[in-house]
């Protein structure tokens, strides 16, 4: 018995040990170190690190408008981003599980933006927004294209949203597709025979049956949009006049531009707690709504 236990333990060490080790080195240890630095005034370079207690946390909530502004921006962005990416992802999946010509090809096309890195996408879209839209606007006179894209708060916000949705909905689409194709044909057929309309089938059968996918997709979309950094950096760099600065960017800015590493890590700790809390609540809520067929 004892021998068997040892063998089991050895096996676990061999299989899980390496992964655990790397996880510890790349995630856990830096995280703990970050926690320590959040209580100091370290500037990221100097040898002297002074313990300042809770000063950093006090400062970010009482004396840092930019942090609160970026918090608000990120919240707005998350709400709009999560709803849009999931709606678009779901409906793409819904239509691409029907019998459409070029179905596979279209799936690949919609997934493609996800394969290209966010930074690259951002720069391409920046060009489209600033040069492409302006040219189209001049040629056609459509007011939508004549807006100062990325040049003020509103167009900056919606510009990032557009690229974000374009980039992420493809990924969510793949998850929804997998889930929708798993909905059993019998149930759908039965509903059809009973005379359910398409909308009724969608609302009362498909959606409840794919709730596990919804849980996953909401979780992904929330954490992606909260942590969004690359699009922000490449599209607007937080500008103009810092009106489109995401939380992640604010943290980066604090630690590496203003050289207040301690304050930066403190912010990122708060950031982590907020994202963790929101996603936990969300997963719990949506899990409750999952049903068995």
């Amino acid at each position: 018995m004892n021998n068997k236990r040892w063998a089991g333990l050895a096996q676990q060490t061999v299989y899980i040990g390496p992964a655990l080790l790397f996880f510890a080195i790349t995630i856990i240890i830096p995280f703990v170190m970050g926690m320590y630095y959040s209580f100091t005034d370290w500037n990221g370079v100097s040898g002297t690190v002074t313990w300042v207690g809770l000063d950093n946390f006090k400062r970010m909530f009482t004396n840092d408008d930019a942090f609160l502004t970026s918090f608000w921006f990120t919240t707005k962005f998350t709400i709009v981003g999560v709803i849009l990416t999931n709606l678009v992802g779901f409906f793409l999946a819904y239509f691409l599980t029907k019998n459409i010509k070029m179905r596979n090809w279209l799936r690949t096309v919609f997934f493609m933006p996800n394969v290209i890195g966010g930074l690259l996408l951002g720069f391409i879209w920046q060009f489209i927004f600033i040069k492409g839209f302006a040219t189209v606007g001049e040629a056609t006179g459509i007011p939508f294209f004549q807006l100062p894209w990325l040049g003020d708060e509103t167009t900056g916000f919606w510009g990032i949203i557009m690229v974000f949705v374009w980039q992420s909905s493809g990924y969510l689409m793949v998850i929804y597709i997998a889930s929708i194709t798993n909905v059993s044909k019998e149930v759908l057929e039965a509903a059809e025979i009973d005379g359910a309309s398409r909308f009724q089938v969608l609302r009362s059968i498909i959606v409840p049956l794919i709730m596990p996918a919804v849980t996953v997709c909401l979780f992904l979309a929330i954490s992606w949009s909260f942590k969004m950094f690359d699009l922000n950096l490449s599209l607007t760099k937080g500008g103009p006049y810092r009106s489109t600065e995401s939380l992640a960017m604010n943290v980066y800015d604090e630690a590496f531009v203003k050289n207040r590493y301690g304050l930066g890590t403190a912010k990122s700790l708060v950031f982590f707690l907020v994202v963790a809390a929101i996603t936990l609540v969300q997963v719990r809520l949506t899990k409750k709504r999952e049903v068995e067929a």
């Binding site: 500037n43 990221g44 370079v45 100097s46 040898g47 004396n63 179905r103 596979n104 090809w105 799936r107 690949t108 997934f111 493609m112 394969v115 290209i116 927004f129 600033i130 302006a134 100062p148 894209w149 990325l150 040049g151 003020d152 194709t181 760099k237 500008g239 103009p240 006049y241 810092r242 980066y252 800015d253 590496f256 531009v257 203003k258 050289n259 207040r260």
Partner: protein
């Protein structure tokens, strides 16, 4: 479904292949080290992307002369990214032996790591103006790479076309000139106001540098005895910004540096706030332009205004704890004293040298460089102040200025924002 998966798999493979390409640069470097054996390796970490090719050629020449030293030149471009990358290198025990430093506040920050270079032979040859940012308690900690000057670059032919005969030296004259240009159907200013550095460090410079004593003013700001708000120079500077906006291109806040350069180079705009570093970029589009400098005129005192902003953009410093300090010093010394090094500095890098022993000929430096050199020789310069700002203040200033340009705030509000930035970020 099968087909879909196949395409997906192919895409993934492609993306992996692409990322593998991206990282191959790094592994090449490592192979190089392995082959070199007992050679001493000096790592240089710098951010001037425009001189990478020249540096690599120079590396070959240097290694020919000093076979037992091997140079490893690494470049990460763009201000903030460079700083972050450098910090990462130090944090991961991969500190370079030579790296760049902006001087003043940045020197203070890295002081723990800097080798005192006061005894180096080239120190005595430095132009006085270039020494200051890297000097602390009488010790010199870095070698200035070059001089750069900025103001309004203007197109002489377009000015002539608009009938401007006298060069504007004051605000009123500049306004009159802009009006004439507009009447002639020419956009007066190409404004790349999307770029934070163009506004927050370079654009704002005259307002700081035209204070009676800029250093005392900045010290006063740090101690709370001076204020940006209500300061006459800053108000004049805000007026100048407004002027460039009124007679400038459309959507200045989404116009980036390259776009503004091409506006200037294709003769769609007559002026742009920029420096001599832009020469190669402008030449690439249109080498036949007839360009010159105008000072950034604030207020109506012609004498006070007829000055160009000049400064050292970067200094090379040596890591105090490096094992190959001596070799690193050898390289720096070679760079500014050997014929080969001198030649590269003026001819390949197109630098305005910071060392008096290097001859700078106008034909090497281009129109703009030569014009800056003239201002330097005549001592009509405004020093570069941005390195004395608290860390990150330049970016914040840019935010406040952009809000002003977008009509979200007025002069008072902008100056209040800038004052608040300073108070918040000062040590």
């Amino acid at each position: 479904m099968k087909n879909f998966r196949l395409t997906l798999a192919l895409l993934l493979v492609c993306s992996m292949f692409l990322s593998a390409c991206g990282s191959s640069g790094g592994s090449e470097g490592e192979n190089g080290n392995a082959a070199s054996g007992e050679k001493k390796k000096v790592t240089v970490f710098q951010f001037k992307t425009e001189i990478v090719d020249g540096l690599n050629e120079l590396k070959v020449e240097f290694e020919k002369e000093y076979p037992d030293i091997q140079l490893d030149i690494q470049t990460v471009g763009g201000g903030a990214d460079y700083g972050a990358a450098l910090k990462t290198k130090f944090a991961s025990n991969d500190a370079p032996d030579i790296f760049s430093n902006g001087g003043d506040a940045e020197m203070e920050m890295w002081l723990d790591h800097l080798e005192d270079l006061s005894d180096q032979p080239w120190v005595d040859d430095l132009l006085e103006l270039t020494k200051e940012p890297m000097t602390k308690d009488g010790k010199v900690y870095g070698m200035p790479m070059n001089l750069e000057g900025w103001g309004y670059i203007y197109n002489k032919d377009l000015f002539e076309q608009a009938g401007i005969t006298e060069l504007p030296k004051t605000y009123s004259e500049l306004e009159a000139a802009a009006k004439k240009l507009q009447e002639a159907g020419i956009t007066a200013f190409a404004n790349a106001y999307q770029e934070w550095w163009l506004l927050g460090t370079q654009g704002v410079n005259p307002a700081f540098a035209q204070q009676p004593d800029p250093n005392a003013f900045i010290q006063g700001l740090n101690e709370g005895t001076e204020k940006i708000t209500g300061n006459e120079k800053f108000e004049e500077w805000a007026r100048l910004l407004q002027l460039t906006l009124d007679y400038g291109n459309k959507n200045p806040l989404t116009t980036d540096y390259n776009t503004a350069i091409s506006l200037l180079a294709t003769e769609k705009a007559a002026m742009m706030q920029n420096g001599n570093w832009a020469q190669t970029e402008i030449d690439a589009i249109n080498p036949d332009l007839n360009l010159g400098y105008l000072p950034m005129a604030m207020g109506d005192n012609a004498e006070e205004n007829d000055k160009l902003n000049v400064g050292v953009p970067a200094n090379l410093v040596i890591n105090k704890n490096s094992d190959v300090k001596e070799e690193a010093k050898t390289f720096l010394n070679w760079l500014v004293t050997s014929d080969m090094g001198k030649e590269y500095i003026v001819q390949k890098f197109k630098f305005i040298p910071a060392v008096t022993t290097i001859d700078a000929k106008p034909e090497d430096m281009g129109d703009l460089g030569a014009a800056v050199w003239e201002y330097v020789q005549a001592e009509k310069v405004l020093g570069r102040q941005s390195a004395k700002f608290p860390d990150g203040a330049g970016q914040e200033f840019a935010g406040a200025i952009q809000a002003y340009l977008a009509g979200k705030s007025d002069t008072n509000k902008m100056l209040e924002d800038m004052q608040a930035t300073w108070d918040n970020l000062k040590k």
